[in-house]
Symmetry: C2
Subunit: 414 residues, 2 copies
């Protein structure tokens, strides 16, 4: 294929596609695949399609969006447009997932695409899409099927990450960073992923053995206690989907994560990285939680967008995920700010606003009501948000308040 | 937008987008739009989206396919893949049409994309797609909503049409041909379309007044009697959809057309142009009909593909449309063979194998059973096929066999 900018190495992009299909999805012979991606990532979409068919895929269906079409809406559409979402398309996707279709998302969008657009319209279309896509998102978050998310070095994204380089150099640098973080530079990427998953599994086994009642975070601007959901389970690396297939839902991944208790979060916390959300960069976030809910929120920039985000519904101001990542993780050490959650969340410990992962419980197949009664949060959104750094200490608290060191200065304590 | 090859005039492409939205669809304020297109036509998709939003569209959703992904399937997929189709996506489209969503198709594909692939696999995936898309296609053919089809000068298509030109010259020439045929070179394209529709309406009024029982075609290799469906109605130019919106379903269009009787076609007919179908060019078709059905079929090239096409189901070997186009039509006079039905069908009188248009009856809202009992054909396919030229005479026959000249030497007789 001759569709690739010369700044992206074709061989390693092919290997990324193979890792995505074999490690990320663990796609089974005869299984169908839907790829959600924007047109700017087509070189990788095409390579993934070829790799999936080589692995025996039934049908590969790209579900493509286009950034120029998105922008044409904000530039030209009337007021009423911004509450409309393609429910028929998301419902179709949910139906495909119910038929055991694997799902892949390729991220490579311009993080600043909507930065100059009316934040109210951005929020409204985001909410409309969240509502319409909820049935599909639920099937993903409860791991009905094997799914994965990975990244392609889109041009506008690369320029945002490396603003002082030429376009070609920026794309080349972002491609290198993605290849390194996704472990496709290794001689045998599949074995490298197996070893990495085992290391993450050792961490989750220790944390699950401790069965902490809460985590206590201390650091500059942060003194936060996050209660963990009753019967919570730490996950990391590979996941076993309900269809029995073991997949790696994030490429790259460095995190272990679980479900916090939606009513038991108290204290103050300061974000350690900017949050790129729906075409806006929200920087300098500081919030205070009471009984699980954000009761005070500030940001140095994008405060309005952040406040709109947490007021989408009641669950949007509560936590749905807590994740631990050592400060020495390769992505953190690269020193690159990616303006992209898939990467930045793997550079720092983080929390997520909104919907919890119902698979982060010891008991499988919990009903929605059971998840809620054990403290799992429910929301239209799920937005990750970095609070870790080399200055953060974390302690595990048991039900009596007795404390065990978990992280010191951003590194595993043991 | 800077996405356009220099060989395509941006201003006239903008005007084509405007004509598509205002004349083709007559899109109503608040109405949603789905655009079916391949990624090679994105410059026009983006301009249509902008024009649709300027016209007050609710939401514009591109449903994009990618030729490289299609080809990746034929190159890499296992045997079982070729009977799978994205039913969930077509069902979603049908649901969108049920919600009064307008539909646009942009054609610009490589007519030879699948020419080197196994014809059996091409036929199998074509059949699987036909079955899966039938609910959506039915809503289109019975005009539930306003819809339109238009074209973009894709590179591979342009090279096929103008093989002796450079790529840039070929794209420029195809763009010019599309702009001219689509009437966007006129000072006021919308008025030009209004006048053109009135001229086509005068023809359909005359034909509907005659209420012929059959048409009799004579010419080199052709002696064919096509019975017309009971209560048939000639259509042409604009159509009034069941949602009450007057649209122009084809841009360009030069034809008037109606529903033939599926059991009353007899004689021999010779195609006057090659038929480009699913990545194959079928040339030199000659067939014999008996009681409505093709009983003998030959072709100089692509005979196997043609025979597979007419054996998809019983209705695939019967006629679903008969259309009259004068040999002096602008597209015919351009002398260009487009290898694309949207254009070539407007250069010559033609027939279509397969599904009939249920709106080509005097009585509206006929049930499927009523359509069938009046002679309307039913099939998974609808494939147009050129039988007109400057050497064809056509007579209208009444129920007694009395004859009225309709066309002489390819031109309207009156």
């Amino acid at each position: 294929m001759t569709d690739l900018p010369p700044s992206i190495d074709s061989d390693r992009l092919d290997r990324l596609a193979e890792v995505a299909v074999r490690v990320g999805l663990n796609l089974q012979p005869g299984q169908n695949l839907v790829i959600s991606a924007s047109t700017g990532t087509l070189p990788l979409v095409r390579r993934v399609a070829a790799a999936a068919y080589r692995a025996g895929a039934g049908l590969v269906t790209p579900m493509l969006t286009d950034e120029a079409v998105t922008l044409a809406r904000f530039t030209n559409a009337g007021e009423a447009s911004f509450d409309v979402a393609p429910g028929w398309l998301f419902d179709g996707l949910a139906a495909a997932l119910d038929q055991n279709t694997a799902q892949m998302s390729i991220r490579g969008d311009d993080p600043m695409l909507l930065a100059e657009q009316d934040p109210a319209k951005v929020a409204r279309q985001g909410k409309a899409n969240s509502i319409a896509s909820r049935p599909a998102l639920e099937r993903i978050t409860r791991f009905d099927v094997n799914w994965t998310v990975l990244a392609y070095p889109g041009t506008a994204w690369a320029r945002q990450v490396f603003p002082h380089l030429t376009e070609e150099e920026a794309v080349a640098s972002l491609a290198e960073a993605i290849f390194a973080a996704s472990r496709v530079n290794k001689a045998d990427p599949v074995s490298a992923w197996t070893a990495h998953s085992a290391a993450l599994r050792a961490r989750t086994d220790w944390l699950n053995g401790q069965a902490f009642h809460a985590l206590h975070y201390t650091g500059p601007g942060t003194d936060l206690t996050i209660g963990l959901a009753d019967g919570h389970k730490w996950q990391g690396g590979s996941s076993t989907s309900r269809n029995g297939i073991i997949c790696n839902p994030n490429i790259p991944t460095e995190e272990v994560f679980t479900t916090p208790h939606a009513q038991r979060v108290d204290g103050v916390v300061k974000a350690t990285k900017p949050l790129a959300h729906q075409g806006n960069v929200i920087d300098g976030i500081e919030v205070r939680f009471e009984a699980g809910r954000i009761v005070d929120a500030r940001a140095k920039s994008g405060e309005d967008a952040f406040k709109k985000l947490i007021s989408i519904d009641d669950g949007a101001a509560r936590l749905g995920e807590v994740a631990l990542v050592p400060h020495s993780s390769p992505i953190s050490q690269s020193g690159v700010l990616f303006y992209n959650t898939l990467f930045d969340e793997n550079a720092a410990s983080h929390i997520a606003l909104g919907q919890c992962y119902s698979e982060c419980f010891m008991q499988s197949d919990l009903t929605k009501e059971q998840v809620a009664s054990q403290g799992g949060n429910s929301s239209l959104i799920h937005v990750d948000w970095m609070i870790g750094s080399g200055e953060i200490d974390i302690d595990g608290l048991d039900a009596n308040g007795d404390s065990t060191p978990v992280m010191r200065q951003g590194e595993w304590a043991s």
